[in-house]
Amino acid sequence: MKEQLQKDFDNTIKNLNLSQKDIEIKKFYLENFINKGFPNRRKEDWKFSDLNQIIKKNIGELSFYSDYTSTNKVDTSAFVDGLEHNKIVFINGRIEKIDFDYEKKDQIEIIDQSETINKFNNNSSLSDLNSAFTNKSFKIVVKEGYQLTKPLIIYHTTNSKIWSKNINLRLNFELYENSSLRLIDLFKDTSEKNFLNIFYNFDLKENSVLKNYKVDKLENNNIKYSFNNIDQDKNSISETFILSSGSNFCKNEINCNLNGEYSSAFVNGIFSINNNKHHEIRTIINHLTENTKSYQLIKSVLEDSSRAVYQGKIFVNSKAQKTDGYQLSKAILLNKDSEFNAKPELEIYADDVKCSHGSASGSLNEDSIFYLMSRGLNYQQSRELLINGFLLDVVEKITDPEVKNLIKNMIGIKE
């Protein structure tokens, strides 16, 4: 793999107009990645999902070079209907369109940061890989007091032109005081056997609100890793919703630092997977100061021989008195070959806190099915009703009514 990496790296660099200094930095990250390699199960964070093995088994040899010199045609029919929105379109990893038509032009700033490689608050090998190979990196700034009127949808589209490729994306968001942003990540893949490595960084200033909805619904054979770093100032709110369903393998990581008083973080997730899929959500909520709050709810429905993993960690600093942290994960295993692994973790150094977690996994409740069947539903209907209700609980946590309806329609949950 090392030679391949070196060769692809040289090709990638050739197409980018980088200063000598930036090339050096990129080389440094490449070197780091070569030394560390893809994470494997010996790394505690990857204990339940051995990425190295998964890539070997599903993709084989990866190629790290992508030709970004030619543009791809943007297929407008793929856009979401019935909801006016701003867009960023990625096709096969190349930014094809950035469009904030519905917003005041002077309130949003888009900065091309491709030439300055910003440090990322993460020293994993995947972060190194991302730093070494990202071609374009943008920073999106929402100015003070501005609240976007329409949600922003980021389309992550891939098509059959790419095969066995590694794609690295990076976006930076900065929300100034009293601003707000609704962000939906939509994955549409018609490609197969690629590894997507996505890094987002969010910087939330005082009183700002971020709502991020990640929807991976369409069936595809890709392998995805997505990392969100969220830094929060006083009174800020972040809400993350993850629908983990379509990809062959998908791992979402959320690292949230509650730096300011009265800031709060909400993470809600659904695993709805079948076949041989293997999905994971890992969250780390760092309560670093007083009076912060976090809430997490993860629900899974596992069919066939699918496998879901939830690793959630609440960290409470000794300064962070009056912390309120809550975490709940529930899983329904529908098939004898399905598997649910959880590691809900608490690390607490302050005494005046309220922290708890719960985790339960098991089969569908036979008594409930019996109850429904005795009222005239057949087995299949009862089962669907129960699963719908189970997942609806999480969807209902979405605080934005427009997006809530959109997502409800997408997963076909009926009320």
């Binding site: 899983a331 692994n341 608490l346 719960g358 985790s359």
Partner: protein
Amino acid sequence: MDNRQKEIDNLKDYKYGFTTDIENTRAPKGLNEDVIRFISNIKNEPQWMLNFRLKAFERFKQLKEPDWQKPKYPKIDYQNLYYYSAPKSMKDKPKNLDDLDPKLLETYKKLGIPLQEQKRLNGIAVDAVFDSVSVATTFREELTKQGIIFCPISEAIQNHPELVKKYLGSVIPVTDHFFATLNSAVFTDGSFAYIPEGVRCPMELSTYFRINASNTGQFERTLIVADKGSYVSYLEGCTAPMRDENQLHAANVELVALDDAEIKYSTVQNWYPGDKDGKGGIYNFVTKRGLCKGKNSKISWTQVETGSAITWKYPSCILKGDNSVGEFYSIAITNNHQKADTGTKMMHLGKNTKSKIISKGISAGFSDMTYRGLVDISSKAANSNNYTQCDSLLMGNKCGAHTVPYIKNKNSESNIAHEATTSKISEEQLHYCQQRGLSAEEAVGLIVNGFCKEVLQQLPMEFAVEAQKLVGISLEGSVG
């Protein structure tokens, strides 16, 4: 009030911190094949036992010391330890208690261990282990009548080789992890108990461990086998003198329960925890594992962990037999600079297996406590159930309490439920108690005992009283 105060003053300092001045026979310092041969030789062991040790040592040389645990400790120099230390007077093992070195008897008297027959009313059979060897076992005859074997493991190797050969290493194989393998290579003594088919052991069996000599590691090995339909309740207690250096204690405990058998294993661990500044104390790195081999068998671990500078252990149950049950009840208290990383593993392999975990952690001062546990329901373990509850109580913002459960469910017909909470003693509860005339310390003691009650109830009577007191004492000075 006065009496209570006196009692507290008496107990405030670690009262088991004395040393006994007694002559020792030691193996040469260091760890190598010769030392292992020396130990085996001095114990007059058969060849198969020596082979067992050497095999373990071969494996040990390839293993690396683990470092994933939360409490870090300075590197242990394994070559700078004595692996065998025995009171000199033990060379020819005394036939009865009258032949024992009076100093030893006095030591155990100070510790409150009923070695003397006149204390038979207590009705507990005791095996006392001093440094590396077992010094006395009481009530042997009575137990023999029922066919129960209860003796030091070195004697069992001589007298019951077929049983030891069959079960030793069957739960913790010689190829296990670092400390367990070290123990397999150099273990010196420990207790052996065999309860024959259908026998309900009429009294509590108990082992009392004492580290006395300095610079020694204590490596004892306990093996308990409960044959079909039998029942045994086993107690374990430990103390050590106060010393400035850290001492290593790496024991292995193996339990085997055959069809319909039940083993109840209770520990009150009160090794020297080090002084207020965290100097000295015992490193308690113990491997405890029970195998529910037969159908309908049950193994229950109860532990009260108040001592040791670092406690690092996970008493586990392998639920192999169908319908078998594993239980784990734990109270861990850390104060000053103590550290604990403890919990359990429940491996569900058989059908209809059930396990229950209740863990209560209390940390005060500058201490750090971690519950780390694994519940693993394999794909064959249909209809299995686990319930886990771990609660932590924090006193002050200099200490830490952590929960790291690993939950694996591979069977759709099985259910796992886990819950954990972390909190402090509520002001309202304290206020309520104080309003009714209790002092702040008494109020905390009362609330903490209530917090631990679920676990304390699982202990046998004699231990429950001691443990309850210990809970109070361990937290002295942490209020306010």
